[in-house]
Amino acid sequence: MSKIHVTTTINGDPVEFLADPRETLLDCLRDKVGLTGSKEGCGTGDCGACSVELDGTLVCSCLVLGVEADGKSVSTIEGMASDNDLHPLQRKFIEHAALQCGFCTPGILVAAKKLLEVNPDPTEEETRYWLAGNLCRCTGYDKIVRAVMDAAAEMRQEVA
């Protein structure tokens, strides 16, 4: 099957690759671009480990085709920290021990970052519902929810 040339921006950098029309964006990111930070936990849109932003929209990259990224911009976990500074969410996840195996962590961080853009002051319930599409099997979510809410509090102060 012939491949399609895709031109895209990933974490601010121009990137081109050739994609089979059947390949997912997740596969393209991981196997063609070498960005393995986004993980595949299910391939069916149920676990959120592959979460990225596509033109500012939070998506499961396992449910998007690689060719759909043509002409669009993609943000992944690899682009979350700026230069040498971690995003407050990344810092708070380490501080609160909000990860054990860490496999769900990239997807959860990407999803949580979007939550805080949409809603800088989420309640516990809002946080839990927003993250309901991101499975974590290790933590029981307690420390994750605390870390997200603590990061939100810190970020609100920074803005003020």
């Binding site: 501080e95 609160h96 195996c101 860490g102 993250l131």
Partner: protein, 745 residues
């Protein structure tokens, strides 16, 4: 700060950032599927769509004709003549004469891309002759059930049982009939639990490479690189030391990544494809259909109780299927079932049964949750019947240090009484309950484990330390080992780097299982550090010209011990390390053993929940985990283990189960249908860490990973009974089941 009599620790018990934290929040950490090699091929596995079928013919002609396809393997590519456990592993890796369950691997193909491999796998034609199958454990033991494998039973099985019963056990002490005769009430009840999966979010993945010279390498997500080495080489008929296995970061395991599935296939494909590395990554449905979930269980429990709550006799008869191979954790289930109770008269009977399901693997405290569900449900029901406080009944019968365990040996230091006291005092138990709301309690147990352990450590030229360990870091063990080594050396936590190393770098290590990493690897690391300290003291003594016994190690420096040793200022680790080239060479320490002194752990949980009488849906309102850690080296990660175990147990109790259709095919092989708890299903999970130090560990560690999944099953059933007066005896208590029970009240 944690205290052990006279000991007070500087670092142990604190909560520093984990050393691998940055890697894991930035996407830099490399898990199983994140690794690639030049010239790498991709593998795909052909799996049986039938629960039980004779394999008549496999034709790979069309697949091999595809451009980019480099190799196909079937069972014919594996050595013959294996026996026992090795044969089971080989047969489960790739089916021989029969496919034994839906998802059983029958062939594998390697090609230049993932898509080509997947397309080629579809072109491999397998002709089956479908056989009758059996899924349920009680059905599998019944007369007339299809025989899965003739001659699989071991000599323990009494005559007259179905050939699917492959192991029988009976043990206990005292006289149960006498015990029941002494009781005021005797109750007997049957319980069932369905199979559940560990549900780690990372699917299995490996890159395997092996040449025609049978020398190979593997990169793999695993809980134990030496287990992978041993099992793969056995299945392939290769010498163990010829395979070098490097563990990746691991995205959860919970026992399910202690064994092999497609790893030998990648090596066999590589060998056939001229030694090119082959990567295989499982899909989620392959994980659910063809890796090792836990067993399903059918259990009868009988208990005799006096009016004051004293248990006078107890009997448990458990039947478990662990798939199409022997190895259901029925022994562990029985050992743990009554472990919390001091019993004069107790009897255990168990059956290990084959069924047409995937070979079970370990899952967090294997067997213990099922047994706890049955026993803790009945104890609770009897306490309620006698109008006794359920916690008081457990306190009355609780085992203490020195008591004989229900399964035989005497308990060493244990903390069940302390756990129950802490539970009773927790504010959660004061919360008011409304209509359709209930509160439930249960206790749980796990032995914890030691296992073969090998650790080495070396002092760097700048006075920092590097530690090589053989247990993959699944939930923060690098942090706990770093803390213990830094504490022992008297240097900052940041000056220690712990590396999880490949099989070529150390002696054999058992996997990260049995809650052993912080206990056994930690203990070995402290021992190894002790050797390095001794050597540093020797170097200082030589420098000072005094006896080496006259030097002690205090706060990261050698110093003369006592007034007669001479007056020398302390020589710091940095000074000793800086000079080591001229004082005798590198300084290191190592330790190899099966560490003794394992400390068992008890936990008790309390849950408040609400039942929706319209739908049968259960909402968890409050959840409390109290558990004895011995000593919490890094309390945040201990809490995390408690919370994670509770969440998995809640899923098991309420939703998770393997559902099979009438053809014996798994009907829910994706996360949409195999529904693990999500963030909005749970409240915050409160924890209390009880610390009754384990005298068998230098810092008192017991190990904490497993006990926590045990109490949620019965605690939730007990809370539902408290809320709506319905006693559910078959897990999961999913909304349709609970609704039906509410309607027939």
């Amino acid at each position: 700060m944690a205290k052990d009599g006279l000991n007070e620790f500087k670092l142990v018990g604190t909560r520093p950032d984990r050393p691998d934290g940055l890697d894991k929040v930035t996407g830099r950490a490399r898990y199983g599927a994140d690794f690639s090699l030049p010239g790498m091929l991709w593998g795909a596995v052909v799996r049986s769509p039938h629960a039980h079928a004779k394999i008549v013919k496999i034709d790979a002609t069309k697949a091999l004709a595809m451009e980019g396809v480099k190799a196909v393997v079937t069972r014919a590519d594996f050595p013959e003549g294996l026996s026992g456990e090795d044969w089971d592993l080989q047969e489960n890796t790739i089916a021989g004469e029969k496919a034994l369950y839906d998802g059983h691997a029958v062939a594998a193909v390697a090609a230049t891309s993932k898509l080509i491999a997947e397309d080629a796998a579809r072109l491999i034609e397998v002709e089956y002759e479908v056989l009758p199958h059996v899924i349920d454990v009680d059905d599998a033991m019944a007369e007339g059930a299809p025989v899965i494998r003739e001659g699989a039973a071991d000599p323990t099985v009494p005559e007259g049982l179905h050939p699917n019963v492959v192991k029988y056990m009976e043990f206990g002490h005292g006289d149960v009939e006498k015990g029941f005769a002494e009781a005021d009430i005797v109750r007997e009840k049957s319980y069932k639990t369905e199979a559940t999966h560990q549900g780690y979010i990372e699917p299995h993945a490996c890159v395997g490479q092996m040449g025609r010279d049978d020398k190979g390498e593997m990169w793999v997500c695993t809980q134990g690189q030496w287990f992978i080495r041993k099992m793969c080489t056995a299945v392939l008929g290769v010498e163990a030391s010829q395979l070098r296995v490097t563990p990746s970061e691991i995205g959860g395991g919970f026992g399910g990544k202690t064994t092999i599935f497609m790893e030998p296939l990648s090596l066999a494909l590589s060998r056939k494809a001229g030694g090119r590395p082959v990567k295989i990554v499982m899909s989620r449905s392959e994980v659910l259909r063809a890796t090792g979930p836990t067993a399903s269980a059918s259990m009868d429990v009988k208990i005799g109780m006096k009016k004051d709550g004293t248990i006078t006799g107890a009997r448990a008869e458990f039947r478990m299927q662990g798939g199409a191979f022997p190895g259901a954790p029925v022994d562990m289930a029985l050992y743990c079932a009554f472990a919390g109770y001091k019993l004069e008269n107790v009897q255990h009977i168990g059956y290990d049964v084959l069924a047409n399901r995937p070979k079970c693997a370990a899952y967090r405290a294997p067997g213990s949750p099922m047994g706890a569900f049955a026993v803790e449900s009945l104890v609770d029901e009897m306490a309620a019947e006698l109008e006794l406080d359920p916690i008081a009944v457990r306190q009355k019968n609780a085992v203490r240090s020195g008591d004989k365990a229900s399964y035989g040996p005497k308990f060493g230091s244990i903390g069940l009484v302390e756990v129950l006291d802490a539970l009773k005092d927790h504010p959660n138990l004061q919360a008011e309950l409304g209509e359709n709301q209930g509160r439930g309690f249960a206790v749980g147990y796990w032995f914890n484990h030691n296992g073969e352990t090998s650790v080495s450590m070396a002092i760097g030229e700048d006075g920092t330390a590097q530690v090589s360990i053989g247990t993959p870091d699944i939930g923060g063990s690098r942090a706990s080992v770093s803390l213990m080594v830094a504490e022992t050396l008297g240097i900052p936590y940041e000056d220690v780097r712990v590396n999880v190393v490949e099989t070529g770098a150390l002696g054999v290590n058992e996997p990260t299982h049995g809650s052993r990493a912080t206990f056994a690897t930690g203990k070995a690391a402290v021992e190894a550090t002790g050797h390095a300290i001794k050597e540093m003291c020797r170097r200082a003594a030589a420098e000072w010209g005094i006896d080496e016994d006259a030097v002690e190690w205090v706060d990261g420096a050698a110093q003369p011990a006592g007034p007669n040793a001479g007056k020398f200022p302390p020589m710091t680790i940095k000074e000793i390390a800086g000079n080591m080239g001229s004082t005798g060479g590198p300084i290191s320490g190592h330790h190899e053993s099966v560490p003794d002194g394992v400390g068992a752990s008890f936990g008790a949980h309390a849950v408040d929940l609400e039942v929706d009488p319209e739908t049968g849906r259960v909402t968890i309102l409050r959840y409390l985990v109290v558990q004895d850690a011995g000593r919490a080296i890094h309390p945040s990660y201990v809490e995390g283990q408690y919370q994670g175990g509770a969440a998995q147990g809640i899923g098991w109790a309420l939703n998770e189960e393997y559902v099979y259709d009438d053809k014996g095919r798994l009907a829910n092989p994706i996360f949409l249908d195999y529904r693990v708890p999500v963030a909005s299903d749970l409240p915050m999970i409160d924890t209390v860490i009880v610390e009754v130090p384990n005298p068998g560990h230098p810092f008192g560690v017991r190990g904490v990973g497993e006990t926590g999944i045990t109490p949620p099953l019965p605690a939730i059933a007990n809370a539902i009974a408290d809320a709506v007066g319905v006693r559910m005896t078959h897990l999961p208590i999913s909304p349709p089941k609970l609704l039906a029970a509410l309607k027939s009240r």
